[in-house]
């Protein structure tokens, strides 16, 4: 089982992994590279990771989710490398007998990713600059006027 890829993410593939006739609710979360009003001309984000630990920690995180929602089936994939604005960096699919468990399990996994999965991102900007992003989503070295 690998939780990492350098290719574009396929939601269909992940949905197919968890689909079952007994599971009536499927929740999909996509995290997408953004260039919003709080970013300074982001064109792409370069994702890097402690890959061996990502694999181990994702295994533990998904196991924790299964302990909480034993009937849920969960598939997750994180993309690494340079990802342009608008493309997904992470996809999580949680299927459960009913929608509440599907939403809760999906939310649990993405919040766990933010706390536990050792992945880092560097914003690549239109002016050619590169800035590491801190966990609050802000660059580590903002210009003084911001």
């Amino acid at each position: 089982m690998t939780y990492l890829t350098r290719d574009a993410l396929s939601v269909d593939q992940l949905v197919a992994q968890v689909a079952a006739s007994t599971l009536g609710g499927t929740c999909v979360f996509l995290g997408t590279v953004r260039n919003g009003p709080d970013e300074d001309g982001v064109t792409a984000i370069e994702y890097s990771a402690y890959e061996e630990m990502v694999e181990a920690e994702f295994g533990r995180l998904v196991a924790d989710a299964r302990d909480r929602w034993p009937e849920a089936r969960i598939a997750v994939r994180h993309r690494l490398g340079t990802i342009p604005v608008g493309e997904a960096s992470i996809a999580i699919v949680a299927a459960a007998p009913h929608r509440a468990q599907a939403f809760e399990a999906c939310r649990y996994v993405i919040e766990g990713v933010k706390q536990r999965i050792p992945v880092w991102k560097k914003e690549l900007r239109v002016d050619g600059s590169e800035v590491w992003v801190d966990p609050a989503g802000r660059p580590t070295a903002k210009p003084s006027h911001v």
Binding site: E52, K114, I117, P118, W132, V133
Partner: protein, 91 residues
């Protein structure tokens, strides 16, 4: 190595640096030897002393031992892999 140190008590750990920390230290890994008993915090102190760029690392970074997050007070053993992790920013 000081002559008074018993080599039998020395541990060698592989230290790995990632993302911004790898840029600051100028390398992605290093081997560090230190007398036992030793903690993750001892490894961090040694790294900050031995590598000029590592002085810019925080004194109490997030760390992992053998692929699992660990406190700075956690003990390390010979052969362990200690990773110094910048603030996690995945997703």
């Amino acid at each position: 190595m000081p002559a008074t140190v018993d080599t039998a008590t020395l541990a060698t750990v592989r230290v790995r640096f990632f993302a911004r920390y790898a840029e600051l230290v100028g390398r992605s890994e290093a081997a560090v030897s230190l007398p036992l008993p030793a903690t993750v915090g001892d490894v961090v102190r040694r790294v900050r002393e031995d590598f000029p760029g590592a002085r810019a690392l925080p004194a109490r970074p997030l760390a992992a031992v053998n692929l699992k997050q660990a406190k700075l007070e956690a003990r390390v053993q010979d052969g362990d892999e200690v990773a110094l992790l910048p603030p996690i920013a995945g997703g």
